[in-house]
């Protein structure tokens, strides 16, 4: 029995193919822009030969670094990434030339004729080597060399405390780069209008910030840049931070007056798009003989690639989560981000937390094995409760906690009947079950205001228009906003139209990311709804000659007076109010941790966080004894994410996140070698198909976040963490493989099976 819900506001238009994504917009007569990329991970550009490219009929411009005004540096926090490389190439995807042409055919031909003379120079391809004394410098002359950032978060004296622990386990855990593999590749349109406004439509998660990134890169005025963000065909963090934006803006600047379109091919997306950071995490975890955790030391190494993007913030969030959702009195968590000539590390759902979670959960499994404890029980024993302090010294907010999530998972038949299930394994198949816990903070943390402003309009016809400022990349926030507003104003959902983000007409908001979109914008929207309700009642009271507007009620299509039975249609109010008076705007900034702990001082942005969603994940796998293939047969995710506005909406997020987590656990491997991606298309970089995933069961527990819009919290990321460590634990259960890296390969499984026989 499946539940249905009123269709999301965007669902039918998308299902019938009527919704236009940025990639679908091709203004008649537009030009096409494309990029020539370095193709080698480290080098010195000697020359860029463009003459034959320029001569191709239909080519309008071939641009190089010398055509870039302003700083030629883009970036979200650190502006260190060239729009077009002038002298140095630092990764295979680095852009060297930009071609603009009248047709895609001419563009392709011209790109094939642009030839860059790049003298290869020694590169560096892992963080440890990068931080060594003789490492080639990714940014020569940079203070700090290849060390982008480092940090420390600690509580008490963990090193001494470890010495007094009765059980200490340790390990090195590695997670690889991950490709977002959204179906709609990075793309956009730009036109420099005669009035000097740069008009852009981009598949982007951060239209408001994009303006500043573009302005800084090209020496433009951010106020003269307009960015529109239609529905995205997926984002997952990979469209957080300029992809096509600065290149398109450059093209529009140099070829003004015409629309210019850029769409990355799938191959180019692999080559040039951001990736989840690869990480190596060293853990020492100490407990008493009963399994009560006492001390944790953790060292996280992040491979940033050549440009900072959000590496430091990602590392900070990873470090903040390194202790897991557990009670640990003494912690010492360190991290370093190193520059390498690998692909650029950027935002990806789970943002450092996935890397930390894998290491901590595997460490808990090591501890459980050492002490002969059940892995679920060990986690339950140490689960953080509200009011206690987490591993970095922040107090856990009130609400349903991870213990409840574990309890719900362990009460489920998947767990209680696991031994029976395992015994029923078919011939040549071994079954195993794993259970893990996770948590994921919401929002930007301290330092950067987690802000959104919302505008709500009463139309002249008495319906409403929500000006959405946070792009909908598929998480359904646009629809959630309709639901929130409809509930707040007692109107049917059909009364609401949505305007997708447009920096010219929507008030500003932060990015669609960080599990904060629905919470922060939702709260701003509810504020605007309150203002609108007050205004409607007040204006209606004039018509109804009612001297107590508070007693009036909003009903479908009208404001009514229960005392007299009179009512005013919203259409009448809409018809008689001026345009200014029909608008309500409000804003919200996510509350932050008060009295933050005295640690993690290096992190200006993003530490610490106040609100978390938690969860538990149960995975039942089958390992084939003949092939080593592993299949996920059973998957349960429990979560506490505040009030559930839409059960379907929460399930969508959990199922989708778990699918990405499972992909990383078993299939997804970019196979980066010396800076080259070997798995660079969808036939070698394998994301799960419909045959690779079971029916993922989701349980959202009763919970309430009082600060959230109608009690909700962000749930976009927490589901991704479970499958990696849960599958690893399940494989240890099934075949004795002790996996410390992802993805887990069939070859490792076969080797473990052979080890059993020996």
């Amino acid at each position: 029995m499946t539940t249905t819900s009123p269709p999301r506001a965007d669902a039918l238009a998308k299902a019938t193919g009527r919704e236009h994504y940025s990639a679908d917009m091709t203004p008649p007569g537009c030009l096409f822009a494309g990029v020539k990329r370095a193709g080698i991970p480290s080098g010195l550009i000697k020359a860029v030969h463009m003459r034959s490219a320029r001569a191709v009929p239909g080519v309008v411009a071939v641009l190089t670094r010398s055509d870039v005004p302003g700083s030629n540096r883009q970036g979200i926090v650190h502006k260190d990434q060239p729009v077009l490389c002038g002298r140095l190439v630092r990764h295979c995807g680095d852009p060297v030339a930009l071609v603009v042409a009248k047709s895609r055919k001419a563009l392709a031909e011209a790109l094939s004729l642009v030839h860059a003379d790049i003298e290869p120079t020694p590169g560096v391809f892992d963080p440890l080597s990068a931080l060594g004394p003789d490492a080639p410098l990714v940014h020569p002359g940079r203070e700090g060399g290849n060390l982008l950032s480092r940090g420390l978060m600690e509580k008490g004296d963990a090193l001494s405390a470890l010495k007094t622990c009765e059980a200490v386990v340790s390990g090195r855990f590695e997670t690889p780069m991950q490709e977002h593999a959204f179906l709609e590749p990075p793309n956009g349109l730009a036109r420099m209008t005669p009035s000097g406004v740069l008009d852009m439509t981009v598949s982007t998660q951060a239209p408001f910030r994009d303006r500043f990134e573009i302005a800084h890169a090209l020496g433009l005025d951010a106020r003269r840049i307009r960015v529109r963000a239609p529905y995205l065909g997926g984002g997952f963090g990979g469209k957080d931070g300029a992809t096509v934006q600065c290149l398109l803006a450059l093209a529009a600047l140099r070829v003004p007056g015409r629309w210019i379109k850029m769409v990355w091919s799938r191959g180019e997306t692999f080559l040039a798009g951001y990736k989840r950071h690869a990480a190596m995490v060293d853990v020492c975890l100490g407990a008493d003989a009963n399994g009560v955790l006492r001390a944790l030391t953790c060292f996280m190494h992040f491979d940033a690639g050549p440009y900072a993007h959000l590496s430091t913030e990602i590392m900070a969030l990873g470090m903040e989560h390194a202790g897991g959702p557990y009670r640990i009195p003494y912690t010492r968590i360190e991290g370093v981000c190193a520059h390498t000539n690998n692909p650029v590390g950027g935002a990806f759902r789970g943002f450092g937390v996935l890397q930390a979670n894998f290491a901590m959960e595997r460490s808990m499994d090591f501890l459980a094995a050492r002490l002969g404890r059940d892995p679920g029980e060990l986690r339950r024993l140490n689960a953080l409760r509200p009011g206690e302090t987490n591993a970095v010294g922040v107090t856990v907010e009130q609400g349903t906690d991870v213990a409840a999530c574990l309890d719900a998972a362990m009460a489920h038949p998947f767990w209680t009947m696991r031994e029976t299930w395992k015994k029923q394994a078919p011939p040549f198949v071994r079954r195993g079950v794993g259970i893990t816990a996770m948590h994921n903070a919401m929002g930007y943390g301290r330092g950067l205001p987690d802000h959104a402003a919302a505008k709500l309009e009463l139309t002249r016809q008495g319906t409403f228009r929500i000006y959405n400022s946070v792009p909908d990349m598929g998480q359904g926030n646009a629809s959630a906003f309709v639901t929130l507003a409809a509930t707040a104003l007692s109107q049917p959902p059909e009364a609401f139209a949505l305007i997708q983000p447009d920096t010219a007409i929507c008030p500003p908001a932060g990015s669609s990311s960080a599990s904060r979109t629905t919470y922060t914008f939702g709260n701003a929207l509810l504020g605007a709804c309150r203002a609108m309700a007050d205004k409607l009642k007040a204006r209606a009271s004039l018509v109804l000659l009612c001297d107590e507007p508070d007693r009036l009620e909003l009903v479908h299509g009208a404001v009514s007076d229960p005392a007299t039975g009179g009512s005013v249609p919203l259409a009448a109010l809409g018809g008689f109010l001026s345009r200014d008076d029909r608008m309500c705007v409000d804003q919200f900034i996510m509350p932050v941790v008060q009295n933050p702990p005295d640690t993690g001082r290096e992190f200006r942005f993003g530490f610490p966080h106040r609100f978390y969603s938690s969860g538990a994940c149960l995975c039942g796998i089958e390992a084939d004894e003949l092939t080593g293939r592993v299949r996920l047969r059973v998957c349960l995710i429990t979560t506490a994410c505040g009030r559930v506005l839409s059960r379907v909406g929460v399930e969508q997020q959990l199922q989708g996140a778990a699918a990405q987590g499972l992909g990383l656990a078993l299939f997804e491997d970019l196979a980066v070698e010396n800076g080259y991606i070997r798995a660079k298309d969808l036939s070698t970089y394998l994301i799960p198909t419909a045959l690779d995933l079971p029916d993922i069961v989701c349980l959202a527990l009763d919970d309430d976040e009082p600060s959230g819009p109608m009690g909700l919290k962000g749930v976009g990321e927490v589901g991704i963490h479970g499958p990696g460590p849960a599958v690893a634990q399940a494989l240890e259960d099934a075949v004795g493989l002790v996996a410390t890296r992802l993805p887990i390969t069939p070859e490792e499984v076969l080797t473990a099976l052979e080890g059993e026989k020996a």
């Binding site: 299902a15 019938t16 593999a181 179906l183 995205l232 598929g474 379907v648 969508q652 198909t689």
Partner: protein, 161 residues
Amino acid sequence: MSGRTEISFRLNGRQVRLQTDPTRRAIDVLREDLGLTAAKEACGTGECGACAVLVDGRAKLSCLMLAAQLDGRELLTAEGLGTPESPHPLQEAFAVHGAVQCGYCTPGMTITASELLARDPSPDRDAVREAMSGNLCRCTGYVKIVDAVMAAAAAMRGEKP
């Protein structure tokens, strides 16, 4: 044959005649010449299914078809399957069962599913998964897509939900 040729085919129930370079890809003809952008290019190499359209009732990858191959055929795209005002049961089911998140894979999914249901009106969940296994989705984890196809199949068999 090269340069521009006339191709003539039935598209979403109407006869269409076009002058075009027959070596262009079918997906480009649909998206650029005919303004039908439901078929999406997400890989260009047949690995994702987002470009699927029905050709003589068979779901095919329009990114791996040449315009010349459309001549004389009967094509159905997601736009022809139904409209927002009058959606096909599959489109309706995708919408109400939460099977649409970013929606980029959705048109291709519904095209593939419509071929499945034409051939097998009562598939089980495994058969649905198998039939959809050439259409990638990165958002949903497929669970609700299977739910939607099962529900649409029931609706098309005349069963009450």
